[in-house]
C-alpha cells in the first residue's frame, strides 16, 4: 500500500474502496441507485448546484465553523496545542446539516417530492426535518422505538419541524432497524421518494456523496490552520459511528503524509464482550445495508446490536472508506469506553465552557489518553462535531444525578 500515489481516488466505478463498498441492494432499488449516481455526478460539476450549496452553507448553516484554539484544555493537559473544529456551532447543532443540505438540493434537482431518512440519536433526523421544512418537502423519519424513548427532545424537535416520525419495532428497535425500515419504504415508493442517508455508508454512491458534502469540514480546517499556524496539523482526531464527520475532516488531508490521522470508535463497556460499537477494532468484514464493510456479527453472520452510551455511535457497521483506510494503514482506529467519554465530557465542559456531544467526547478522551506522548510543539485538531445539550439526561443518568 506504500506505493499508492493518492488515497483520494476512491471509489472506483463500481463504488468500491478496495474490496469495500459496492452496491449490495435488491433489484428494485438498483435503477434508483444508478439514477442517483448519474444525477450526483452531474450536480457535482454544475456551478449553479455548488453555488446554491455554498450560499446555504454560509447563510443558513453559518459556515465556516471556527477553528478554535482550546487554550485551557491545552494548559490542563500540558501537551500539544489543541484546536477544536467547531461544527457544533452549525445550525441544528451538529455536522449533519452539511450533508442534508447537499442531498436535499439533489432531491429537488431530481424532482423528488418526498423525503425519507433513518435516525439513531436524532441529530440526523433533526437535520433532515430542518432542510425538509426549509424546502417545503414532506418527510418521514424512521427511528427505533427504543431510540424514541431515549431521545425525546429530538423527537419533539422533528415533529415541530413538520416531520412524521415513525417508530420502528422490527428487529431490535434501534438505528440499524430504522435503516432497514427506511430501505423498505424506499423499495415501496420508488418513484417520488428520495432517501437521505445520514452517514458515509449504504450503497454506492452514498459513501462518496456524503463524504463530499462533509469534506467542507476538512477543507475549511486546512485553510484555517494554515492561516492561524502557518502549517498543517500533526494529527487529526475524530469520533466514528458511521463515520461521516471523520470522513469529512480526514478526506482533504489523506495525501498529506505528515498528518497522522486517528478515528475513535465507541468502546461501550469494553471490547471483551458484546457491549460496544467498535466495528473496525473488534468486528470483521461483511455485507449490510448495501455495502461491504467491517461489521459486528456473530459466528453465523448475524448482525449484532452494538452498545454505546452515545446513541449517535450506536451502529454495528462503519462507512466502507474507513474500512479501506484502516486496511491500507493510512488511518488508525482506536476505541474509547463509555466511562472515558463521560470523563472527557466533564473535562471539556469545565475547562473550555463548551458542552460537547457524547460522540466527540470519545475523541476528546483519546486526546487525553495520548497527551503524555505528544510534544508541546505538536498541533492537534479534534472535530467537535456536535453539541451536548441533547445528552444531558444520559450524562445525569450515568452519574446517578437528578436533573
Amino acid at each position: 500500500m506504500d506505493k499508492l500515489n493518492s488515497y483520494k481516488l476512491g471509489p472506483d466505478q463500481n463504488g468500491r474502496f478496495g474490496i469495500f463498498g459496492g452496491r449490495f441492494v435488491a433489484e428494485t432499488l438498483m435503477p434508483l441507485i444508478l439514477d442517483l449516481e448519474k444525477a450526483y455526478q452531474q450536480a457535482k460539476k454544475d456551478d449553479s448546484f455548488q453555488s446554491e450549496l455554498a450560499y446555504l452553507n454560509k447563510y443558513y448553516t453559518g459556515r465556516p465553523s471556527p477553528l478554535y484554539f482550546a487554550e485551557r484544555l491545552t494548559d490542563y493537559l500540558k501537551t500539544a496545542k489543541i484546536y477544536f473544529k467547531r461544527d457544533e456551532l452549525n445550525h441544528t447543532g451538529s455536522h449533519k446539516i452539511n450533508n442534508c443540505l447537499g442531498q436535499i438540493l439533489l432531491a429537488k434537482r431530481m424532482g423528488k417530492t418526498r423525503i425519507i431518512a433513518e435516525t439513531g440519536a436524532g441529530q440526523h433526523g433533526v437535520a433532515v426535518a430542518t432542510v425538509s421544512a426549509r424546502f417545503g418537502i414532506p418527510c418521514v423519519i424512521y427511528m427505533g422505538a427504543k431510540d424514541i424513548e431515549r431521545q425525546k427532545p429530538n423527537v419533539f424537535r422533528m415533529k415541530l419541524l413538520g416531520a412524521e416520525v415513525v417508530p420502528v419495532r422490527s428487529g431490535n428497535s434501534t438505528l440499524k432497524d430504522a435503516m432497514n425500515e427506511a430501505l423498505r419504504d424506499w423499495v415501496a415508493n420508488v418513484n417520488d421518494t428520495f432517501y437521505i442517508i445520514g452517514t458515509v455508508a449504504g450503497p454506492h454512491p452514498y459513501p462518496e456523496m456524503v463524504r463530499d458534502f462533509q469534506s467542507i469540514i476538512g477543507k475549511e480546517t486546512k485553510e484555517q490552520i494554515l492561516d492561524q499556524e502557518g502549517r498543517l496539523p500533526d494529527q487529526l482526531i475524530a469520533c466514528i459511528g458511521g463515520g461521516s464527520n471523520a470522513m469529512g475532516l480526514f478526506y482533504p488531508f489523506l495525501d498529506d503524509k505528515s498528518v497522522k490521522i486517528t478515528g475513535i470508535e465507541a468502546g461501550g463497556m469494553g471490547l471483551q464482550g458484546e457491549k460496544h460499537c467498535a466495528s473496525l477494532t473488534a468486528g470483521r468484514p461483511g455485507v449490510l445495508h448495501g455495502n461491504r464493510t467491517y461489521l459486528l456479527q456473530d459466528d453465523d453472520g448475524q448482525i449484532i446490536e452494538g452498545h454505546s452510551i452515545s446513541a449517535g455511535l450506536d451502529y454495528p457497521g462503519i462507512g466502507p472508506e474507513h474500512a479501506w483506510l484502516k486496511e491500507s494503514g493510512r488511518v488508525e482506529y482506536f476505541a474509547i469506553t463509555d466511562s472515558e467519554a463521560v470523563e472527557a465530557f466533564k473535562i471539556c465542559t469545565k475547562t473550555e465552557g463548551i458542552i460537547p456531544a457524547l460522540e466527540p467526547s470519545h475523541a476528546i478522551a483519546h486526546l487525553i489518553n495520548i497527551a503524555p506522548n505528544l510534544s508541546k510543539n505538536d498541533l492537534v485538531v479534534m472535530n467537535l462535531c456536535g453539541r451536548g445539550d441533547k445528552d444531558i439526561f444520559t450524562i445525569a443518568e450515568h452519574l446517578n444525578m437528578e436533573i
Binding site: 463500481n14 459496492g22 452496491r23 449490495f24 441492494v25 435488491a26 433489484e27 428494485t28 432499488l29 438498483m30 435503477p31 434508483l32 422490527s170 428487529g171 440499524k176 432497524d177 432497514n180 430501505l183 423498505r184 423499495v187 415501496a188 415508493n189 420508488v190 468484514p285 461483511g286 455485507v287 449490510l288 445495508h289 448495501g290 461491504r292 461489521l295 456479527q297 459466528d299 453465523d300 453472520g301 448475524q302 448482525i303
Partner: protein
C-alpha cells in the same frame, strides 16, 4: 443442479400445469417442526421448495418473513442446520428442486467457496440472493454458474428494458418476477400489470417465469397461473406459524393451504 429445475418445469408443461413454489424459513419455529414441514410439502402439492436462510436484517422482506427469521435465529438455528435439514430431506426425496433464498452476509461469512461446495454436496439446485444484483456478479453468481447451479434472478416493476437484458444474460432455472414494488407480503399486486410485465419478459426469454411477493389467495394464484410458469407463496404460509402457538396444528393448517393452492395451479 440446474437440470432438476428444468425437468420440473418441463414435466409440468406436459400436463399443462404450473409450478407451485412454496417458501418457508429454515428453523422456523424450530428445527424439528421446520424439517417436518419441508418434508411434507411435496406431497401436499409443492413443486419447488424455497428455503429461507435466516438473516437478522432482511431488508427486502415484510414483517411476516422478518419475524420468521427472528424466530429461527432465536431458536438457535445456524447455517449448518439449514444444510442438515436439506440433507435429511434429500434422503427421501431426490425429485423436488430445492432453492435456497437469503441475503449475502451469512453466505459471505460462511465463505463463498465452502458454501458452494456444501450445497453441491447436499444437492441444492439453485440460490436466490436478494442483495446481489447483476452489478455484484463476481461475488457469487459467476462461481455458481461454473458449478452448474442456478442463480435465480429477480426482475421487478422498476426493471427497465436495459436492465432486463442485463439480467437475462446470466440467469438459469427460472426468473423470479417480483409482482410489486415493495416488500414481501405487503400490498396485493395488480394482476393485470403483472401479466403485461411477464408477457414482455417472455418475448425475450424461454426461461420459465415465477411470480411472487404479495400473493396470498387461491384466486390470485389461479389468475397468475394463467400467464406465468410458476407462482411463489411465502408470507401467507409463514403467517400460519406465527398465528398458531400450538405446534400440533401448524403442520395440518399449512399443508391444507398448500393443497388448496396446488389445486389452483
Amino acid at each position: 443442479m440446474t437440470v432438476r429445475i428444468d425437468n420440473c418445469f418441463e414435466t409440468l408443461k406436459l400436463t399443462n400445469k404450473k409450478a407451485l413454489i412454496t417458501f418457508l424459513t429454515a428453523g422456523d419455529p424450530n428445527y424439528d417442526l421446520s424439517l417436518e414441514l419441508i418434508k411434507s410439502l411435496p406431497e401436499a402439492g409443492a413443486d419447488i421448495i424455497e428455503i429461507g436462510m435466516p438473516f437478522s436484517d432482511p431488508m427486502a422482506d415484510g414483517p411476516a418473513i422478518q419475524a420468521s427469521s427472528l424466530r429461527a435465529i432465536n431458536s438457535g438455528h445456524k447455517m449448518e442446520k439449514t444444510f442438515e435439514m436439506i440433507e435429511s430431506f434429500r434422503k427421501d426425496n431426490s425429485r423436488t428442486p430445492i432453492i435456497l433464498m437469503g441475503y449475502f452476509n451469512p453466505i459471505y461469512n460462511y465463505g463463498v467457496d465452502s458454501f458452494i461446495k456444501k450445497i453441491i454436496d447436499i444437492e441444492v439446485d439453485g440460490v436466490i440472493v436478494v442483495d446481489l444484483p447483476p452489478e455484484e456478479d463476481n461475488e457469487l453468481c459467476n462461481a455458481l454458474e461454473c458449478a452448474d447451479l442456478s442463480f435465480i434472478r429477480l426482475v421487478t416493476p422498476t426493471t427497465n428494458t436495459d436492465r432486463l437484458n442485463k439480467i437475462l444474460q446470466k440467469t438459469s432455472g427460472f426468473l423470479y418476477y417480483v409482482s410489486i414494488a415493495g416488500i414481501t407480503g405487503s400490498k396485493r399486486p395488480e394482476i393485470n400489470e403483472v401479466e403485461t410485465a411477464v408477457q414482455e419478459i417472455k418475448t425475450k426469454t424461454n426461461i420459465p417465469v415465477g411470480v411472487g411477493f404479495g400473493i396470498r389467495t387461491k384466486e390470485d394464484i389461479k389468475r397468475v397461473g394463467d400467464f406465468a410458469d410458476g407462482v411463489i407463496v411465502g408470507s401467507v404460509l409463514v403467517d400460519i406459524i406465527k398465528n398458531n402457538e400450538h405446534e400440533s396444528s401448524v403442520k395440518d393448517k399449512i399443508m391444507k393451504k398448500v393443497r388448496e393452492f396446488a389445486s389452483a395451479v
